[in-house]
Amino acid sequence: MAGGTVAAPRGFRPTSGLLLVLGLFLLWEASARTGMVDSPNWPPLSRVLVALVRDTASGEIPMLVGSTLARMFAGLAAGTIAGIAVGLLFGASTMAQRVLGPTVELIRPIPIPAVIPPLVLFLGLDNGMKITVAAVSAFFPLLTNTAQGLRAVEADQIAMARTFGVPAWRRLFRVTLPAILPYVMAGLRVALALALVTTVVAEMIAGEQGVGHYLVLMQFAGRAEEMYAAVLVLALLGYALNRGFLWVERRSIAWYFATGRDG
């Protein structure tokens, strides 16, 4: 079938970046054990891993990760739909763009964590606030990329659909949306990374939920092993989400990569 996987064969070579990661892990372990860094805040990696395995087996970490992910994806979904919708509106109506454009450009540069304190006042400390934070993070990359995708849609494809008498709503779903999907996916990838960051930050700042809260709690309690375990979990989570996303992307827009339109 067309497209297929494009992943390059990966051998384990001496120049592989994985070796550096292993080396850094070893340095971590050694520096803590030999007293190179002598601090209760710098436990050896092995003890961090023990804490990680223990809290994973007990179900505590999976539960925390699950709740963080649930909030993140809920916000991501809402922000994505809103971003695409407003992007389409901007594309369809120059008037909408004129009226809403300046507002969007003023709100966009605000660092998302800066809106958390005011949001807490209106939405409280729990899910509503955190989902909103993730949604706002996802909104702007999707809006920008949808608008950019609309400018790149081939006019011939739309005219082609018109010559066959395809009604406007069907042109939107069968021509415009598939055509801008590569741009939407690129926006979604940015949004995914951003939403994870802002969801965790929101959890750290307010409320008693998720991995972010756990991380801060362990820091206050002076439990360094658990704190680092949470950091490792977040690293793995970010990595896994990105890999998962690439997997979906390669399959959903194989034509885009095959036609070399990505560069």
Binding site: D156, Q157, M160, T163, F164, W255
Partner: protein, 261 residues
């Protein structure tokens, strides 16, 4: 009887800070039912614009277009427009079969399965049997243009409006497509309006050739080719009448087309 009529069609485009530029000046043309007519003109004379107006894809600034006697305000069901850039009008996320099915699958009462069956029939007509599961970008330029033709045929049009559809392929493939086009035109009783800047193509395929002037374009004259039917798109080029017409039209193009020193 005219199936497609242009009556005093004018098109002007907004000028940059100045008055609008007139691209097309009161063009009138009656395309007979079942004929193969070419619109021949120098590059940039607005041939494609004229065809898009005829297809209902672009409104004229003044004048009327009629298809089967009805004024055209949107793309009429009798006519389909085939684009110059096949690569841009085919949908790369759809298979060849689904690209062809796109022409009819939105129609009420047509199931996805019926649309695909219809697509396979048209793919066979353009000699692309077995390529339904491929994607357009896996095919050569000539094959992609045949997919675009199959898609146009699937709509079962009375009129096909062809915008330089053979200009983006190599010379041999072009001859191949000429033969195919004549075959389809004869078999299906189509009316074809072909826009081209290629004199030989226009003469070899057409019953009549309308010669456009450069901007603001008008019809300089209309020539009946009088070449026999059925004809072979390659062999016809060796007839004295073909050579005579080629000479005459090239002369007219070179003196009117602004190429003179």
């Amino acid at each position: 009887m005219a199936i497609l009529e242009l009556e005093a069609v004018e098109k002007s485009f907004p000028g940059r800070g100045g008055p609008p530029t007139l691209a097309m000046d009161r063009i009138s043309l009656a395309v007979r039912d079942g004929e193969f007519l070419s619109i021949l003109g120098p590059s940039g004379c607005g041939k494609s614009t004229l065809l898009q107006i005829a297809a209902g894809l672009m409104p004229p600034t003044a004048g009327t277009v009629r298809v089967a006697g009805r004024p055209v305000t949107a793309p009429p069901p009798e006519a389909v427009y085939v684009f110059q850039q096949y690569g841009r009008s085919l949908l790369p996320w759809r298979s060849v079969r689904d690209n062809v099915a796109f022409a009819v699958e939105h129609r009420p009462g047509v199931s996805k399965g019926q649309a695909r069956e219809a697509a396979d029939v048209q793919l066979a007509a353009v000699n692309l049997t077995g390529f339904g599961d491929h994607f357009p970008w896996q095919l050569s330029g000539g094959m992609q243009q045949r997919v675009a033709l199959a898609r146009a045929l699937a709509a079962e049009p009375k009129i096909m409006l062809l915008d330089e559809p053979f200009s983006a392929v190599d010379a041999l493939t072009r001859l191949d497509l000429h033969r195919l086009m004549l075959e389809l035109w004869e078999k299906r009783g189509l009316t074809v309006v072909l826009v081209t800047h290629d004199v030989e193509e226009a003469v070899a395929l057409s019953d009549r050739v309308a010669l456009l002037t450069k901007r603001p374009s008008t019809i300089a004259r209309i020539v009946e080719t009088g070449l026999p039917r059925p004809r072979d798109a390659v062999e016809v080029r060796e007839t004295p009448r073909f050579l005579e017409l080629r000479h005459e039209l090239l002369d007219a193009l070179l003196s009117r087309g602004g190429h003179a020193a």
